[in-house]
Subunit: 379 residues, 2 copies
């Protein structure tokens, strides 16, 4: 598989004075400013929770630790959606954008609970962290049950903190009100998409393989594409008072790009380097995810290949050899090439929409660089 | 144990023309108006989710089914907090109050996941409902894991819908902004309280039994008392522009009353009739809840009685006979009488604060009746 860093370096990213490429996420020092906003917010919440009890410390710590990782893609799309609509740089939009990172944290924490995933961003998943705390302290009862509870509550915290930080961003109330329908839609649609994703692992194989591919593509639009790129852009734009034409550009850019982003994530979930993905090699195969990649492999598989996939996919004890066998089927059926082509097509469609739309000033360039970064690398 | 209905009927509840007592929750037809607001809101959300996929139907249905039960206590305290501050009757405050019922639904759904509870409000818990759907359809994979995921997402939906309905209530933005710090505090403190509750089941017994009683009382303030009564009152009052003296009255009334409410709930969890509680008899004993009732029993137990509690409490297979034995210990140690006295004292403290405070018009009477209903009956 093509290395994500090789792919990224083939495009002109902004370069710092000392010659090391700067991530487009950090143009205008956005990443560090988002992190500062998140740290200040979490410190305030830690104070509130300390008022409840000092014992609540691990709740905030688990969130803060998770947030040390991550690319801040969603805040970046929100911020540049704002700038692209003519909004000025400032701390209020940075805080509003940072709120999306809390929403992402909620989705990840609960996703890992639902999938029973062991790790995230190269660290133990939040429910594993709470289970370890329980065992380390020698507490009573079932450590896994405690871990589950801790992660359900930590994710809930991130959900309620999302709208708290968004509302407390300091942006004018009437602008926040204008963006609220999008903010609401983003949240409900993501949760619906996550449900479809879970359901997709449970439904029987469709007799028509093309229907399975279409279903998998539908799922990623809602469980990932929209809330990663389209909705952050639309929220940022609406906060700055964007007109209909610009918002239509953001959708025409964001939706295919979001799909390409998730397809890249799916490829990395099968072929990616654990150092890049923060998950063990082949983790998506072990969890039995019915991705577009898998659906395409099944559509093109001969009976023997299809049997291999049916037998191995979703086996939690899958070893390196079996992962190699599954990877082989995905490559031999042409599914990997087909998904790479789809990523390229979707990204090209997105970039064309961006080039043709009325996006202001430096935002156009940064959004183009973000598009490359989002489709070339692990989350 | 004293029957809750006997206790309730010893106070003067409002009586309908045909002689059947009307619940104070339905004064001004509040209960049915809250239900109308919730039904309209859920129908709108069902539309949004149908746009994602028809397959999302069970998410909204699970919430709507859960909400058929429940007493609407939190909306009632919010509404009468508003009226007590001179607010006029109207649909906007009814919608804002109804949002608290969505918050309650989120707490219950996730609570049942964390506790592994089978039933709620006399029906299968939401995670059991999703597990049954999975089994009934003969889907692939683990039905319990699907049930867990469905309930995590349904609870997440209710959390994000809480602030959506609150913000979309139609109340003036500046009033909503004034109440927002309380709304935020309510949510974070409840989640902290739920964590303390889970932690309480895991921590070892304290060498000082009085410390265990104090810990249990601290937990119920945060996991139940505040978000059931004090915060809804304060939110309603603040929405109507209440002054400091009235808000202080609401706290002085709401906090002890909330504690009494949860102590009543704890008594019902051990001694209650399943028809009243919507949970199997002795469910809290089976789940091993470290309630004030249990902590008081341990504090007063002789060594043989303490051994019985240590051996039986939290055994998931506890049968009717063992439940009878545990109930016997709780009665024989005097813990039941002590908790009943504490409920009476806390309720009296609350009612005194209400009587002395500047609460407007009919709200004073209805709040008094709500206080009786909240401490006399199952949720």
């Amino acid at each position: 598989m093509q290395s994500p860093s090789a792919s990224a370096s083939s495009h002109a990213l902004p370069t710092a004075a000392h010659g090391i490429p700067t991530s487009p996420v950090n143009v205008e020092r956005l990443r560090s400013r988002v992190d500062t906003a998140l740290a200040a917010f979490l410190e305030r919440q830690a104070g509130t929770l300390e008022g409840v009890s000092r014992d609540c410390g691990p709740l905030v710590e688990s969130v803060a630790t998770l947030m040390r990782g991550g690319k801040r893609l969603r805040p970046a799309f929100c911020y540049w959606g704002w700038r692209g609509a003519g909004g000025d740089d400032g701390d209020p939009i940075t805080r509003a954008a940072a709120a999306l990172e809390l929403f992402q944290a909620a989705a990840l924490i609960h996703d890992d609970v639902m999938d029973g995933s062991d790790s995230r961003r190269g660290m133990p998943a939040v429910h594993r962290r709470f289970a370890s705390l329980h065992r380390g302290q020698g507490w009573r009862g079932d450590g896994d049950r405690f871990g589950l509870a801790g992660a359900v509550l930590a994710g809930d915290m991130c959900l309620v903190w999302t709208d708290e930080l968004f509302a407390a961003s300091g942006l004018p109330i009437e602008r926040l009100e204008a963006a609220r329908p999008l903010f609401n839609r983003m949240r409900t649609e993501l949760l619906g998409g996550q449900y479809l994703d879970v359901l997709g692992q449970s439904l029987p194989e469709d007799e028509d393989p093309a229907a399975d591919i279409e279903r998998a593509r539908h799922v990623i639009r809602y469980k990932s594409a929209k809330y990663t790129i389209e909705h952050p852009l639309l929220i940022g734009g609406t906060l700055a008072g964007a007109g209909e034409e610009l918002l239509a550009t953001y959708s025409a850019f964001g939706l295919p790009l979001g799909e390409a982003f998730q397809l890249r994530d799916d490829v990395l979930g099968v072929f990616g380097d654990p150092d890049e993905t923060g998950k063990p090699a082949g983790d998506d195969l072990r969890e039995g995810k019915r991705t577009v990649l898998v659906a395409m492999a099944m559509a093109a598989a001969n009976p023997a290949q299809a049997d291999v996939v049916r037998r191995l996919l979703g086996d939690p004890r899958l070893d390196a050899e079996s992962i190699g066998v599954l990877r082989g089927v995905i490559e031999d059926t042409g599914a990997l090439d087909a998904v790479e082509r789809l990523i390229d097509e979707l990204t090209a469609t997105a970039l064309k929409a961006l080039a043709e739309g009325p996006v202001a000033g430096p935002a156009r360039d940064v959004l183009e660089q973000l598009a490359v970064a989002a489709t070339a690398r692990a989350r």
